[in-house]
Each structure stands twice: as structure tokens, then as C-alpha cells.
């Protein structure tokens, strides 16, 4: 028990991240409102919610729009169902800014908003607007549910965060292990280090495949294509190619000892070149990928505390799982090697 507690822990964490990733609902949100313009005078708009409870919490429903300075409430709200409502605004005041954020508050969902939901159309823009009356009061906090944050564009695909990101972390971790064992093999010549390096690279390749597959799926639903030419994506593809080449190199040499040396040399050389690619290239050009070239990574403001509580354990669990797989693979390879030696003897 004492030295395999981390395997049990990782298995539980990975399992719980899968269960949470697939079962937890997305937080209520407002994907869009049509039309996206507010006219001078009376405008009627349809607001579409997602996982919201407009009808169920109709008594406590409050709708308003704000541009930072001025706040307006509709003079009529008609709830169609839980996810649709019609709001009619009457705006004749002079305004300072042209973009309105839409807010909805009710007892179940709490406060939800859609940034820059409306562009003003035909309203008069001035530097010093007259203050508007306060039309919103007694906001409800909403029920605290265990769910995914509802982000624009990401929508339901935010679940992928628990699979895509930890799989790359796990891959980088085992590839680093592989690099260390390659260095050890070259300096000491211990065949076990070579077996360990190969096993780690094998496991890393599995996680790289998972990372590429989930990333491609994510790209399709957020950027609109299965693959986009992006420094981070190209770097990932090259890392994948390098480790495929690593195995081609191994298998094309029959002498085990020599194959180990060649593969070790290639592992070190390629790892450094790949590091260069990952570090230098994203600064050369813009990237869509979060965490590259000035793009904020998710953790900065998209991860809320609910998700954080699952995401970090998931990363730990996936890395632990990768280490476990690596251990099994290494043991199997050592057994196979010993058997081969016995047969030869």
C-alpha cells in the first residue's frame, strides 16, 4: 500500500475528472440576443438563454442593459420559456458610449451577462450624459451549483479543458523522463536506462495522440477548422513527428545496444530543437492558442474556483496515470529483455 498509493489516487482523480467533465452541467449563460442593435425610441429584442430558468423564476426576473454610465430597464418583459424572453426597451436619452452589455438576474441563475450585446443605433452620443434613474434593485445571488463556467465561443466545449490540457502536461512530463534516461544511458551505458527511455517515449506518444485528437476537436468547434496553421499547433505536430521518427530509428537498427545509443542521441538533439521551436516560433507570429504570444492562458481569468478544484487534481491524476503506464511498460520490456537473454544463453 505504502508505495502505490499514488496509483490509486491518480486512478480516482482521472475517473473523477472524466465523470465531472461529462456529467457536470454548464452554468447558465446568454449566448446571444437578436437584433443586436438598440434604436432611438422603442426596440424589442429576443434574448436567448442557455441552461437558464427564465420561466421557472419569473417572479424574481430582472433584465437591464448598461454601457457603463447609463443603465436602462425594459418597460416590458415577456417570458416565452426557460430559455427565451422578449424585452422591449424605450431609450431616448443622450449617451456617452455606444456598446451595451445585457444583464439578467433571477433567483435560480443569479446574475448572467452578455458583454457588448447591443450596438446603439441612431442614439445621440455626448460627452457628459445625464445620469439615469436606478432601475435595478434587490439582486438575487442565485443557487450555487457545481458546474462549468459558461464562456462565449467555448460554450459546452469547455469540458475539453479537463482532457486536452492534462494530456499535454502528461506528455511533456514523460518525454522529459525519457530525455533524462537517454542522457543516463549515454553516460552510463546501463541497458535498463535505455529500456526506460523507450518506454517513456512510447507512453508520451499515446498522450500526444490524445492531445492532438482532443485539440483538433476543440479547434473545430471554436475556430471552425480541424487544423489551423498556428505556431503552437505546428509545434505539437513536429513534436509528434519527432517521436515517431525516434521509433522508426530504433526499429531500423537490429543491434539493441547500437539502437539505444542512436535513439538516445536523437532524443537529446531533437528535444533541444523542439524546445527552440516551442520557445522561439510563437513570438514570431500571432497565435490563436491560449497561453501563446501574449494570449492569456485559461487560468488567468477563465477558470473559476469550481473548475480549478477539478482541473488541478485532473492534471495531477493524468501525470500520475502516465507514470503508471510508463512503469508497466518498462517492467514488461525488462521482462521481455531478460527472457530474450535467457533464451540466448
Amino acid at each position: 500500500m505504502s508505495h502505490y498509493w499514488w496509483k490509486i489516487l491518480s486512478a480516482i482523480l482521472v475517473l473523477s475528472s472524466i465523470v465531472f467533465g461529462l456529467m457536470a452541467p454548464l452554468a447558465p449563460g446568454i449566448p446571444f440576443a437578436t437584433p443586436d442593435q438598440l434604436n432611438n425610441g422603442v426596440t424589442s429584442v429576443t434574448v436567448v438563454g442557455y441552461n437558464t430558468h427564465f420561466a421557472e423564476a419569473e417572479e424574481s426576473l430582472q433584465v437591464w442593459v448598461t454601457n457603463g454610465d447609463a443603465t436602462f430597464c425594459p418597460y416590458e418583459v415577456a417570458v416565452v420559456d426557460d430559455t427565451h424572453l422578449r424585452a422591449t426597451f424605450s431609450i431616448t436619452e443622450e449617451l456617452a458610449d455606444a456598446f451595451f452589455d445585457l444583464y439578467i438576474n433571477n433567483a435560480i441563475d443569479g446574475t448572467r451577462h452578455l458583454p457588448s450585446a447591443f450596438l446603439q443605433n441612431g442614439l445621440e452620443v455626448v460627452d457628459n450624459p445625464r445620469p439615469t434613474e436606478k432601475c435595478v434593485s434587490d439582486l438575487e445571488a442565485g443557487l450555487d451549483a457545481y458546474n462549468f463556467p459558461n464562456q462565449p465561443i467555448l460554450n459546452e466545449t469547455i469540458r475539453n479543458l479537463l482532457f486536452h490540457v492534462p494530456s499535454w502536461f502528461a506528455m511533456i512530463f514523460v518525454m522529459f523522463v525519457s530525455l533524462l534516461f537517454s542522457i543516463q544511458y549515454l553516460s552510463k551505458g546501463d541497458f535498463k536506462a535505455d529500456i526506460a527511455a523507450t518506454s517513456a517515449a512510447k507512453v508520451g506518444l499515446i498522450f500526444a495522440t490524445i492531445g492532438l485528437a482532443t485539440g483538433s476537436l476543440w479547434a473545430r468547434f471554436t475556430w471552425g477548422a480541424w487544423w489551423v496553421s498556428d505556431p503552437r499547433l505546428n509545434g505539437a505536430a513536429i513534436a509528434f513527428l519527432i517521436y515517431l521518427a525516434y521509433f522508426v530509428l530504433r526499429s531500423s537498427v537490429n543491434d539493441e545496444e547500437k539502437a539505444g545509443r542512436l535513439a538516445g542521441v536523437y532524443n537529446i538533439f531533437a528535444f533541444v530543437m523542439m524546445l527552440l521551436f516551442v520557445m522561439v516560433l510563437p513570438r514570431m507570429s500571432e497565435s490563436l492558442h491560449p497561453g501563446v504570444g501574449g494570449n492569456p492562458a485559461f487560468s488567468q481569468y477563465d477558470l473559476d474556483d469550481n473548475l480549478r478544484m477539478v482541473f488541478y487534481p485532473a492534471v495531477f491524476g493524468w501525470i500520475g496515470m502516465a507514470m503508471w503506464m510508463y512503469q508497466l511498460q518498462r517492467r514488461a520490456s525488462v521482462l521481455a529483455y531478460n527472457r530474450l537473454m535467457k533464451l540466448n544463453a
Binding site: L186, I238, L241, I242, A245, V248, L249, S252, V253, K258, R261, L262, G264, V265, Y266, I268, F269, A270, V272, M273, M274, L276, F277, V280, L281, M284
Partner: protein, 221 residues
Amino acid sequence: MWNEVRAILAKDIRMEWRQPHALGSIFLYVFASIFVAYMGFKRIVDVPTWNALFWIIVLFAAFNAASRAFAVEHHGRKLYLYSIARPESVIIGKMVYNALLMLVMVGAGAIIYGVMMGTDVLREAHMLSFVLALTLGAIGLAFVLTLIAALAAQTDNNIGLMAILGLPVILPFLLILIRFSKNAIDGIAWSANGTYAWQLLAIAILSLGLSYILFPYLWRE
């Protein structure tokens, strides 16, 4: 060590001189690729296409040239070489030799390419940067690919492995090189384009250092 490097360099150049057909075959390869490209494109006035096509032709020529560095040494001579010189000297000597070969090849290739594809695109070029791109490109491609050639030469499947092992490793260098060279052709000033040159130089020096460290583990049979 420098004496050893110089001796290996001299030996390689003399060997090349005595078997001119080997050297000729590489130049013929470059010429034939450019000619094929010429038949396909006639003239290219688009800068990115002109630039990228040139470097792709050079890339494959570089693979060809680099893969010969160790393949030409047959078994007995290899043993002799390693018994009289340190492995570090051998790899440095081969790298310098490959760099010289690539410099000549890129220079000649650029002239032939310019004659066939037209030099209209170079009208507003920052010529100094472009020449630097040719130089750094030749040296860097040679440096990075020499160690890969040493790896591939140890296996039975030399030519195939060379491409499989080399392409992912050379890609970062190639992408920066194409960007630097395109900016030079577009006439972008050194102040805005210089960082790419430093990056290319850094990769070349890094691969020199890595080869120096790693080759001693590689040469033993």
C-alpha cells in the same frame, strides 16, 4: 584539435577533387530541380513563392549533400579515421566541410535560380540581408543536418531515415530562414529583420555544440 579538424577538412576536399563526379551529381541535382521548377512555373513574380521554392530546392539538395558526408567513408577508412583523430574533430571537420559545400551550392543555386526564374522580385531587396540569409542558411542547414547524417549512416536505411529524422528537426530553422529571407527580399530594414538572423545563428551554434557533445557516443560501431 584544430590541426585534426584542418587535416580532415583537407582530406575531404582532396577526396572530392579526385572524384569530381560525386560533387557533380549534387550540382546536377540542384540544376535539375531548378529546371523542373522552371518548366512548371516559367517565371515567378510573387515574392513568397519565389522565396519558398528556392529554399525548398536548397533543403532537398542539403539533405542529399549532408547524407553523403558519412556514407562516403567506407568501413576500413572510418576505423582509420577514428584511430588517428578524436571523434570531436571528425564531426567538426565534417560540419565545416558540409558548410563549405553548402555555401558553394547555395551560391551557385541562387545564380541559376535567378537566371531561370527571373530576378524581378529582388528589385527592392535589402541585398546585404539577402546575402546574409544565403550564408546563414547554407551554414545552418549543413550544421543541423550533419549530425542527422551521422545518425542515418549508422543504420541500414540511410536515405529514407535521413528524411524522416531530419525534417522535423530542421523545420524550426527552415521556417525562420524563409521568414528572414522573405523580409530581406521585401526590403525590410535590418533593425526590424535582424532578430531572425540572430536566431538562425543561435540555432547553428547550438547544433554545433550539441554535435560536439553527442557525436562521441555515436561513432563507435
